[in-house]
Point group: C2
Chain length 360, copies 2
């Protein structure tokens, strides 16, 4: 399709901002999202048209759509009822009235859940669209994963929040997820952790994480899981990289060393629930002088180059397996919400990416 033919774009708007449960079916009154078609405005000077190819699926997107989300308490503007759902994506410039962006450029930005979008070379708010250079032999979707926000989240979580050092021990939950699978490898093979305990939710993930370098790989659905975790953390661990929150976080409050650190990176176990963050072991934070620190990778924007350099050099040294670290789903546009829902069912291994168009 040539750019001149592009007059309308499919898009998903937020129909029902959720309080707790999400409904990813389409066409009902309770559906969280609604499929619409929108006219694409003519390009003005300084604007360019992006065709979206790959959508990043991130648990954090769930927090962006929370009903009555307080804009002052988020790190990007919340998605309100009637807004197009937001998402980080990779696309290609297919038309341009900008001198900075040319037709054919590979670009990364918050392109939202829509086929085409008009972007400004100097946006009024937020960051400019990023041009990316393809790496030979590596799929461009790596810029949504290992070399994108998820890889950088793993890197800064381990090095800056947890201050993990060679010879220290760590537990990583959501370990087969996008962030977790990079964190496991980086902690073991680059930092040189004495022990990496990985927690995931299927036997297949458990095996994969062993292959990636986890010293102990546990399935939280195993009936003896807590006992296994206690055994794996005998003598306690220096750090806990938390991607799940809830019950596993609570149990880890009893397994982190005195003066140990917890990186609060995600809480996927409780995003779709009103009331499951329940921490009977809360007092352990006091008696064992734990530091629980929340973080969001965009705060590290000024240090992204440092992170990408560390990840690239790990990749080149063969210490980072990124090819298996992605679940790429080719989906019809209509199936974007359903595909995003895989995140909350634990259906992905590594980064979950939705491909809705080709970059050709």
């Amino acid at each position: 399709m040539s750019a001149a033919e592009v007059k309308v774009s499919k898009a998903f708007i937020l129909q029902n901002p959720p309080l707790a449960e999400i409904d990813l079916t389409l066409g009902s009154e309770t559906s969280t999202f609604k499929l619409v078609e929108q006219d694409i405005p003519e390009l003005k000077e300084g604007q360019f048209l992006v065709k979206t190819a790959y959508l990043s699926n991130d648990p954090a997107q769930r927090t962006w759509i929370q009903r009555d989300a307080d804009a002052a308490r988020g790190y990007i503007p919340p998605v309100r009822q009637g807004d197009i759902m937001n998402a980080i994506a990779i696309g290609k410039v297919v038309d341009s009235k900008s001198s900075n962006y040319s037709v054919g450029d590979l670009v990364l930005g918050l392109f939202r859940w829509r086929e085409h979008s008009v972007q400004d070379e100097k946006p009024a708010a937020g960051l400019p669209v990023t041009k990316i250079n393809a790496i030979p032999g590596i799929h461009p979707s790596i810029f949504l994963g290992a070399f994108g926000t998820t890889g950088l989240t793993a890197f800064f979580g381990l090095t800056d929040i947890l201050k993990l050092e060679k010879g220290q021990s760590i537990v990583i939950s959501g370990a087969a997820g996008a962030v977790g699978s990079i964190a496991v490898q980086f902690a073991k093979h680059v930092i040189g952790a004495s022990k990496v305990v990985a927690i995931s939710g299927t036997e297949e993930k458990v095996q994969w994480l062993k292959k990636l370098g986890a010293d102990v790989s546990l399935n939280y659905k195993h009936p003896e899981f807590k006992k296994q975790l206690d055994d794996a953390t005998e003598g306690f661990v220096d750090a806990y990289f938390d991607n799940v929150g809830g019950e596993i976080l609570d149990h880890m409050l009893t397994r982190v060393k005195q003066h140990g650190r917890i990186a609060a990176c995600g809480a996927i176990s409780v995003y779709n629930s009103l009331d499951s963050t329940h921490l009977p072991n809360y007092a352990q934070i006091i008696t064992n002088r734990l530091i629980l620190q929340g973080f969001i990778v965009i705060d590290y924007l000024p240090r992204y180059a440092e992170g990408i350099a560390a990840l690239s050099s790990a990749l080149q040294a063969g210490k980072l397996d990124v090819k298996d670290g992605e679940t790429l789903v080719q989906a019809k546009f209509e199936d974007i919400p359903k595909t995003w829902g895989i995140l909350f069912e634990g259906g992905n291994t590594g980064k979950l990416v939705t491909q809705i168009a080709s970059l050709d």
Copy 2:
């Protein structure tokens, strides 16, 4: 009574280590504590006999007696079934075979809930008994409060954990308690906080905290409390000094600034409950990049002199009112548990001290 006559000592042993509720009545099967009489052994070389006069009542004592408390997860050895209840106390040396401690010395240590105790000048475990020098015009019990662990907890919590600076804003819960009432005054009058919001549980405490310097003083039992707290923290606050945990902590997760700090100092609201630490706002820790840090004042032992110097100089400059900062209860030995229970009913203003004997 001369030392030679002291042959037996009353003591309270832990009869039923609690899981949740405590039972401070005496003489029943479910009583948490049991009154006993114990023989006092003859002094050996290097030992001395202490008569206990003032008992420190601390919410943290509740964590020391938790059933099945893990010794590796505490900061002092747990009190087991049959052990004498532990407590920080002030007493007087009434007999001595030590060259370091003389009859008449005023001493501070973990003398437990008993009338008399034999102490070693070089204990096999733990810290040696501290000799203290009375301050003219000030009751010696100040060394259990403003110049003891509670004042130092306020000092290190504000300066080291919260890193509170002149011009910043802070909320302090349990503000009429021993730690809280020092924290309010030190934050306002010494550090120079722009706004100190104090939270307590009675109208009398609310008024007292205003007198101590709180800019806003709130009663958490007021039906409009959360709304009042939101108004008092408009634009959000830099720091939260948490002495209570539970629901107020949860609400404060929504009221601390992005990248703000929370000092997890106490959780009195949940100590006697199995399941009330419920944090529906947990994800705010992530999205707002909060740091929640637990601490215990004994970690600052090497820096106590610094803390006492800062508190003394505040006292001399008239910036610290310590005379009203104490609830001194003269009690019969039998009433020690009941008096300790006042802590959990919010019955004390400032430090709660039980006097069981005179220092004369």
